[in-house]
Structure formats: structure tokens, C-alpha cells
Amino acid sequence: MTKLGVTLTMTTRIFGSGIRRREDPRLMTGQANYTDDISLAGMVHAAILRSPHAHAKINSIDTSAAKSAPGVLAVYTGADTEGVLNPIPCAWQPPDSDVKAVDHNALAVDVVRYVGDAVAVVVAESRYQAEDALELITVDYSALPSVVNPKAAMDAGAPQIHADAPNNQAFHWVVAGGDTDAAFAEAASSQNHVVVSDTIIQQRLIPNAVEPRSALANWQSAMGELTLWSTSQNPHIVRFLCSLVTGVGEHKIRVIAVDVGGGFGSKIPMYADEMLAVFCSMQLRRPVKWTATRSEGYLATIHGRDHVEQVEMAATKDGKITGIRATVYAGMGAFLSTAGPGVPTILHGLMYSGPYEIPNIKGDIYGVFTNTTPVDAYRGAGRPEATFLLERMMDLLAVELDIDPVEIRRRNLIQPFENGHDVSTGLTYDSGNYQATLDLALQHVDYPALRKEQADELSEGHYMGIGISTYCEICGLGPSQVAGAVGFGGGLWESAIVRFYATGKVNVYIGTSPHGQGEETTFAQIVADELGVPVDDIEVIHGDTDLTPMGWGTYGSRTTVVGGGAVALSARKIRDKGIALAAHLLEAAEEDIQYEDGKFFVRGSPDQSKTIQDIALMANVAWNMPEGMEPGLEATTFYDPPNFSYPFGAHVAVVSVDADNGHIVLQRYVAVDDCGPQINPVIVEGQVQGGVVQGAGQALWEGVVYDDNGQLLTGSMMDYAVPKAHLLPNIEVLSTVTPSPHNPLGVKGIGETGSIASTVTIYNAVIDALKPLGVTKLEMPLSPQKIWQAIQQAKGA
């Protein structure tokens, strides 16, 4: 019954097969090692005191009572860490945008700038004792005025958060293509054009990985070596930045993040708290563990989105878009998080063309400091906001011109292309067939029948809505040259080692660091497919910087595209060496050796052959190697992709709204996505389902609420509404396959498409349902209260 193993690989291609995940047994049985599961001899526990004020001057801190509390080893404040720990860096500073990379000290010195800013750290023998001692620290604050809304923070007279950032402007970045002002001037003066506009609030979200952040730091002073277990999506970046913050040589730091309980972007950044664990371990020469509570994580782990966007779209009256213009205020929080500035700029503004031909595009993106938790990449990171902006405008245009929302999209979609299409933001998309995904989605739902059902429902007083979106996104982050050009403070390549042992078993060492996406399985499938080895004979190793080669991590739907490319190329190098060795062993010319399904044979004489296992044995014992060939069967590849990848798709949502109480039911959700060839379609489907539900969360339930004083009112899972099972339908997942022309596997990435498309698809469906009631605009999340009020207001009007 098992789908694993030799039988399958001999009969069906393993690439493309939905085999069971190889990481699951340890995860299902309690045998996984997440960071907080690890204990070391002599380990002590850190707890962090956080500011209760959104903005305040620290007059004094009295730690004496805490220092003498039971079990307490030490209490440190900013006075202790300043000058010892370098500031936590911002690693993505888009060029030509006047970025104010203000210092973010691990412990606040003099001023706190958001509720949750770390003020002191206690280390004690037990966590209970550490938390007890926190309550004995007295901090004398003088509260300062604060601001939480990114647009308001730029108003004249707003409280100033950093002396170096006038008007709280963290950066101003512009995307421009064509002549947008001319396009809008023409639209304004022409009878044949229309302009639609809206102010869109992309509410702030909390990523909510179910595993809280955690760090275990073990400084071994005799060796001058640091081991850091960390809940990270990118342990090699943590090593790199930890070296910059602590001054410990990168070669003396080992970061381990094998089992990580979800990230969704929130475990990309370098955080102060992890560096405090390191600092404490170095001071005390004891292993120090820190693990966030959920509420602590809500304050001190990055948030996502938080845009105020003023958007307008110009089009001809027959529905051809002539321009799009946006001014965006992107809340950055009190400090610039590791990748924060890259999100509303490179990952957002550059995608304003989406899947459409839009000749004129201009976006003014302002990054704004506010007295809030820092904002960084959250699933989709900039692209859900870009898709929302475009798809909202498309629907407004459809209403304005009385054209069906499907038809308005069809008139603007880029025609199919296989190898490169330039859009006016300056990007070159890799490949696309946008109409095909739209056709499949409409056919799947029987769109005309669905519209008829909607009309029938309405005639009975029931409000049903249909939402449609077509999208294209940018992911598979690389190439490194572009990363450098857009201000990313690192490379975006990946590396992989494929190592055969004499017994024919294989280890694959990868630099990238999956945490739920299943690459222990899919990367084994790649090697099995390339080399004909049973998948059970392959083990994929990741998440330990001492074991694995360099890699830049798992985010931006890049692990399969870039990391998988490195794995495939290493496997192909092994195959090439296998051909050379087989030729030598079979006494044939290399060009006469043919490879198929794990066998090297002399062309025309299939009985004269060597299996890949024979080759592995002979290469490892090296008794009979050709002249000049090195022993061993192992290959390393550093793969830097020549372009990003651009997955795309079309989604349809069907909702019903109860006009009496504003209650929404998501009746149906259909996702058609194209991520190129699928290594494991079951895993692809799972990524789409999860992503769609996260996006649905933004549309319907989720939203951070700060009060005017910067207090986080949604401070626990009791107050922040994460989607639950009973609120959701089954997501219907379909796909088309358009290979990317530029990477070894033709793959495009699927981790974020769901959340990129689903928020606006559901939003559009709800607005569509409420159209007969005169409701044209709502702010997310679409709570029953808001809907009911909007219906009452529309009735009044």
C-alpha cells in the first residue's frame, strides 16, 4: 500500500508523484526537535521585560530587587548591552529611497518606541523564576506622544519617533514606467476615458506561526564557539547577522533550525531577543534558552501588511487600462526590520502591472515609522497588497463601465508567452498563459450558471456574491545581481551537495531551510528522478549551518525554484561523472554510454551496464578510476537563477451574505494556479489550501487593533481571530502547467500564491453580493458588524 520505494520508481516517474512526506513520521510522533524541545545540561532561562508604553523616555531602571530574587543569575539592561551588541541591522535598503536605517538596540537605551520594545532581560535557573523576577524590575518612564497610523504619522505635527527621520519618513521609493501623469491628464480631458479610484486599507496582520519564537544559545568560551538553536527560516542568514551583532566570527557560529513550526515570513528577520539569549550565554557561560509566550510574540514578532493606499486607474471606455497611479503609506513599525523596506517596494510596487498590459505605472511608496511592532514579510509579502490593489481597481472599472468582471480582465490580460515578457515596471516575466487559468476556473465553476444562480438567489432575497481575480506574482527570489541592485544585503543563490556512499545511499545537503514545505521529500524526488535511486535511499539534510552548505533561506517561494535547481544540477553532475566512469568500466567510449532509469549502458547493448549503485561503489572505493578522475561520487552546485519566477492563476470565490445580520459564509473557493511542473502535487495542493485560508483570514476575520496610545488590543489568540476549521469550505485546487524557461526544473514556486490571490477574491465576492444593496466599499476584515452598518447606511442614503 505504501507509495514509496523501488516499485514505484521503476514504473512511474517519481517527479510528479504525490508520495507521502518523509519528514512526517518524526513530526507525528513527538520525536521532532523544535527549538524549545531542546535542553542542555546547565541550561538556564531568560525572560524579557518589555515596554508597556508605545513611546516613552526611560528615566531610570532599578534591577536590584530582581537581581536578588530566588534563582536569578543576572539582570541586564541597555546599559549592559550597549557597545557590546551592535544594533540589529536592517538588511534590505532599496536604492534611491533615502532609507533611514535607524539603530535598533537589542535593549532600549533612553527611549522605548513601541509596546514590546525590550528593556531588560533576566536570567534564572527556571523560567518561572525568571518571569517572577521581571515583576521586581522598576522602570521609571516619562510617556511621550505616540502615533500608530502610517498616514497620520506623516502629518505635520505628528510625534517624531526618530530624530534622524523627519516626518517619520523611513524611505520614499518610486516605481515609474511610461508617462503616467500624461495618461491621467488624457483620461481627465477625454470623453473616451474613465478614472476609478479608491483608498485601500491593507490592515495590519499577525503571522501566527503556531510555534512561538525561541532561541537556545550555548557559548563555549574555551573554544570561542557559539551554537544557536533558533526558530528561523534562514539559519545561514542568522549566522551571518549574528556575527555582525555579536562580533563572534561567522566561522565560530553554528545555527541550528531543523524543525521549525511555521514561519510565513515571521521567522526571516534577525530579532533582538535571540541576540539577547546569545549575550546572556556569553556573559554567564551557561546555555540560555528564551521562548516567547504567544502574547509576547504578538508584541515582539513582526507584523505584516499595514498599508494606506490611494489608488487610481485610468482606462478607455472600452475597458483598456491606460494607467495606474498609487500613493502608498506603508507602516514599518518603530524600526526597520531585516527585510521590511523591500516588501512594499520591490515585492509590491514592481508588481503593479500584475498579469495585465498597463503601459503607464507610477507608485510613490512611503515607508513610515510608527510606534508599533516592526512590519516585515508576511506570506505573500507585498504581492497580496499589489494583487488586491489591481483586482479591486479592475472590479471598480467593471462596475463603472458596466462590463462583466471576467470580460474586463480578458481585455487587459497579457497574451500567452513562453520566454520573456517585459512590463512597464521594468520586470521581465518568465512565462505565462493567464487566459488558460481563467478559462479553467470559469469552466470549473460553470460561470454562466453561477451568475444565473446568483440572480435566482437575489430574486428570493438572498445575497450571493461571486469574486474573481487573475494574478501574477514574483517569487523564486534570485538572481543575486538583481538582489544587490535592489538593495538586498545578501545573495539570493542556493547551494546543494549530493553525496553518494559506497552502498548507493545518498545524502543531499541543502543550504535552504524548509519548515513545513516538505523539501525533505520533494528534493529526494528530484534526485530520485535524475539518478534512478529509490527515494528511500535518499536523505535530505537541512537547517544546520555546520552540516550544510551556504544558502539564503526559505521565503519568497524560492526554495524549490532556487534550492531545487541546485539539487538538480548537482544530480546532473553526478550523472555526467557516472557516464565517464561507466565508460571506463565497460571499456566503451563516453559518447556510447547511455543513461536511463538509474542505469548506464552501452548504446545498443543494454546487457553491458552499470547501475548507479555500481558506479557509487566503484567511485567510492576508487580501485579502478580513469586517468585523472577524482575518487568519490559527490557534487556541489552553487545555483544563481538568471531571473525571478512568475507564477500566476485565476481564483473564484462564492459567498453568501445575510443582509439581516451581516454574516458571511464562504460557500466555495476555486483556485487555479500555475507553478510550472509539480514535483509533488499533493504538497502543492496543501500549499495552496493553506495559503488561500490565510488570505481568507485577512478578508474576513484578522486584523491588528492598536488603540490611540499604541496599546495592542488584539494581544492574544483570544482577541485576534485566526481562521478555524468550521468557518471554511474545502478549497478546490486546480492547476495548469507552464514551465519557467530559465531554471533547471522549470518550476515557479507555490508557497504564497494562495494568500496573494484569495484576500481580494473574497473581498470582491462580498462587494458583489452587496451591490444590490448599494454597498460599494468596506474595510477589512469584513466583520458582520461592518457589513450590517454599511447596509444600514446604504439604506439611509
Binding site: R20, D24, G30, G686, Q689, G690, V692, A725
Partner: protein, 172 residues
């Protein structure tokens, strides 16, 4: 703080310990017994990562004191498999891609075990309702529901709890 003696049977094994009265059951299980398969996700009873069985019923061990478990039979995820033979619910999660990062999975499986004990043939809607106290951020729940329905099928409605409260054995 004065400690209180307790006796707790976990996965069939009896443990004597002295604990602070404020110690949470989940900390006792994870820190004192070293059974780290039970997770902490939210501290406030929403996420269900900490679900264990106590005397045959699921409890959120982050919202229960260790002293309240005095004399109790506790079942955790470590007690679900029979040696290398996975429990049918675990097998179903594996077959149906019912987990991604795996962090919520122990709680999901422990919850599913009780759910199927009470209702051996649940509908999809009943499974979804039964997961109201468990949060998964990765899967969108769809494959978790599918896994639990598949487990119900496999177990053929013969689920029953044994003395440890965590094992729902079945006839093959």
C-alpha cells in the same frame, strides 16, 4: 514555594513528583518528564497544540495545573504509536498530507482520537466543528479533516480507549 507531591500515570507509566502548585501540566509533561511532543502554542486555550488526554477526555494542558492531574491517567502523542506501528490516526495524517510544519499535529491527533471515540463515523462538518479548539496555520484544515475522516474509515468504528486514555486501538 512549597512543593506538593503528585502521582501521575503518563502513557501507562507511573510517575511520582513534587511540583510547585502553580506548575502547568504542560510544563510538567515537557520539562519534568521530557515528553516534548506536546506543544505550547498560545497559553490561552485557543490553539490546542497542548491537547493531551486525561482520564479519557482531552484537556488543554497549558490551562491545567500539574496538581490537578494528581492520580490521573494521561495520554500524550508519544503514547499513540505502538512501537514502530503508527496509530491509525497517525497513519491517516501521513497518507493524507494532514500536516505541514507539524507543530499543531500532536494536538490535532489527540483531539481526533477523542472525537472518533465519541463519534466513530463523523461527517466532515462534525470533524470541522470538533476542531474548533485547534488552530493550524499551515494546512487550511482541509487535509486534517480528510485525515480524520480517513482514520474513522480505517478504524471501522471500533475505537476504544484503553487504561492510559491515549490509545485508541483498532482491529485490522
Amino acid at each position: 514555594m512549597a512543593k506538593i507531591p503528585i502521582q501521575v500515570t503518563v502513557n501507562g507509566q507511573s510517575h511520582q513528583a513534587e511540583v510547585e502548585p502553580r506548575m502547568l501540566l504542560v510544563h510538567f509533561i515537557r520539562e519534568e518528564l521530557g515528553l516534548t511532543g506536546t506543544k505550547i502554542g498560545c497559553d490561552t486555550s485557543q490553539c490546542g497544540a497542548c491537547v493531551v488526554s486525561m482520564n479519557g477526555a482531552t484537556v488543554k494542558s497549558c490551562t491545567c495545573l500539574a496538581v490537578q492531574a494528581d492520580g490521573a491517567e494521561i495520554g500524550t502523542i508519544e503514547g499513540m504509536a505502538n512501537g514502530s506501528e503508527l496509530h491509525p490516526i497517525q497513519e491517516a495524517f501521513w497518507d493524507n498530507h494532514g500536516l505541514q510544519c507539524g507543530y499543531c499535529t500532536a494536538g490535532m491527533i489527540m483531539t481526533a482520537a477523542e472525537l472518533l471515540e465519541r463519534n466513530p463515523h463523523p461527517s466532515a462538518d462534525e470533524v470541522r466543528a470538533g476542531l474548533a479548539g485547534n488552530i493550524c496555520r499551515c494546512t487550511g484544515y482541509q487535509n486534517i479533516v480528510k485525515s480524520i475522516l480517513a482514520a474513522a474509515e480505517k478504524m471501522g468504528g471500533h475505537a476504544h480507549n484503553d487504561e492510559t486514555g491515549g490509545h485508541a486501538h483498532h482491529d485490522h
